[in-house]
């Protein structure tokens, strides 16, 4: 059998076309992030207001979801009182449908009390809030709710992980007009409602764990914001029941590659 030259030319053309199509698709560079400057500016104002404050406190009403192994999503409620004083004091009083926690941080020590178990742990930690939050997250695997707001610059981490952001307009949170901002990271979507008039404090935070089964959400509505010149040191000292039992933290360690 003899093929004509035209056949080979056509065959070669098809091959080159297909190969170039494939290689072009493989070599396609990553798209640039689509971050909205308006959202970033408003977010920056909020971070400035919180980061520059010597002390603040707020109350939060929380809703959070759990996806059961049967794929049914259930919602629980909680409430939290959060107090912070720079450089190194923090207190969280948290109770929810499924448990409770009290956390005190001051004088270089952190105490975490679980009222349901009547157990607590105390560990030595760094003297500044930023360093403390990073260390306990790394060493003890401990994070506390809405701790993003406690950092001296709350914007740093969200800006680092955001791949999309948008300004959704002036929307309402319990009667307070707020600038509604939306962000997306690789794994989560998070929305923040920043008070439109007066001090730009966050009034509502919604986090959607988009890549987890059932996309569970965490919703916190923040109120009763206070920015006192000073918060009494007693607020940050452990107030434990007499019969509370002391336990230790399990330490987490990086696995070797």
């Amino acid at each position: 059998m003899i093929f004509r030259p035209a056949f080979y030319r056509t065959l070669l053309a098809i091959f080159l076309l297909t190969a170039s199509w494939g290689s072009a698709a493989m070599a396609e560079p990553a798209k640039p992030p689509a971050l909205d400057p308006a959202a970033d500016k408003l977010f920056g104002n909020m971070c400035e207001a919180l980061g520059s404050a010597n002390a603040f406190s707020f109350h939060a009403e929380v809703l959070f979801e759990q996806v059961l192994p049967s794929a049914v999503k259930v919602q629980y409620a909680g409430a939290m009182d959060f107090s912070l004083q720079r450089p190194g004091e923090l207190a969280v009083n948290y109770r929810s449908d499924t448990g409770a926690k009290e956390l005190w941080y001051g004088d270089g020590k952190l105490t975490l009390f679980d009222p349901r178990y009547d157990m607590y742990a105390t560990i030595a930690v760094p003297g500044t809030i930023d360093a403390m939050l990073d260390e306990v997250a790394q060493k003890q695997g401990l994070t506390m709710p809405l701790s993003d707001l406690a950092f001296s610059n709350p914007c740093v981490r969200p800006r680092k992980i955001a791949i999309y952001s948008g300004y959704m307009g002036v929307n309402d949170v319990n009667g307070v007009p707020c600038d509604h901002l939306a962000f997306s990271s690789a794994d989560n979507d998070f929305q923040i409602w920043v008070q439109h008039s007066g001090k730009p404090v966050p009034r509502k935070i919604v986090i959607n764990h988009r890549t987890e089964p059932g996309s569970p959400e965490y919703i916190a509505v923040l109120s009763d914001w206070k920015f006192p010149a000073e918060i009494s040191a007693t607020r940050f000292q452990p107030d434990l029941p007499r019969d509370a039992k002391r336990i230790e933290f399990l330490k987490v360690k990086e696995s070797k590659p």
Partner: protein
């Protein structure tokens, strides 16, 4: 004729090869992403204390960790890490099996929802067309159909979504209101997976809330694992076998 047939066969092979070349990177990225997520997806739980963080996580997403010992310098705990690893392995295997089942069920449900959505849209369009005078190509009917869809969509999304529509045009660089051509980004929607489970799920009653947590085995002691209290063997105690280890750390 033979030449043409052979030519067609070779061309088809080349096109299939090219298509595969195009698809492989995306498929690989998706697989990697799923594998990563599956290893890390059940880390939350308990009373919700460790939630509510969007920028700061106890886990660096690019690294995996495993518990090995207590943080107390005054108390060593040689078995805690090993035991916890056994816990985790058992728990992860069980949860992975459940998750696989869930994915299948979810796929079925999504298909059902898609079908229902299509049927609803058809019904609305047909109804709106009738309102417009019954003409099959009535522009009034189309407009009413679009309006009805808007109403239904608003109801489906909740009343909060009505507000932005009433406001002035959003800023120019707002990807949410005016998404760029490549939105959603590649890999954006790992979840929801294809299909949400048919309801009620078969093992609905199998879940036991945390309040029904089993009592810890003898010799176990409580520890904080992150913000949650768990039980692990006391220092010096022998690590239990995988079979005797409880399925999951006890939670209140």
């Amino acid at each position: 004729m033979k030449v043409r047939t052979r030519f067609a066969s070779v061309a088809a092979i080349l096109i299939v090869t090219g298509t595969a070349l195009v698809c492989v990177p995306a498929a690989q990225a998706q697989w990697d992403r799923q594998r990563f997520n599956e290893s890390d997806r059940f880390r939350r739980g308990g009373d919700g204390f460790d939630r509510g963080n969007f920028g700061h996580s106890r886990f660096d997403e690019s690294r995996r960790r495993e518990p090995t010992s207590t943080s107390s310098s005054s108390q060593t705990h040689p078995n805690a890490g090993k035991d916890y690893q056994a816990y985790t392995q058992n728990k992860n295997a069980e949860q992975q099996a459940r998750y696989n089942e869930m994915n299948t069920l979810q796929e079925n449900q999504e298909n059902t929802e898609k079908q229902m959505h299509n049927e609803t849209m058809n019904t609305i369009n047909n109804t709106a067309g009738d309102w417009g005078g019954g003409s099959s190509d009535s522009s009034t009917g189309e407009a009413l159909g679009a309006a009805a869809l808007g109403v239904v969509g608003g109801m489906a999304l909740g009343s909060m979504m009505n507000k932005p529509q009433q406001q002035s045009a959003p800023p120019a660089q707002n990807p949410y209101a005016a998404p760029p051509a490549y939105y959603p980004p590649p890999g954006y929607g790992a979840y929801p997976p294809a299909g949400y489970p048919a309801y009620p799920p078969p093992n609905y009653g199998a879940y036991r809330p945390p309040a029904y947590a089993e009592a810890p085995p003898p010799g176990y002691q409580p520890y904080y694992n992150g913000s949650q209290v768990v039980y692990a063997p006391a220092p010096g105690a022998a690590a239990p076998s995988a079979a005797s280890a409880p399925g999951a750390p006890s939670q209140p």
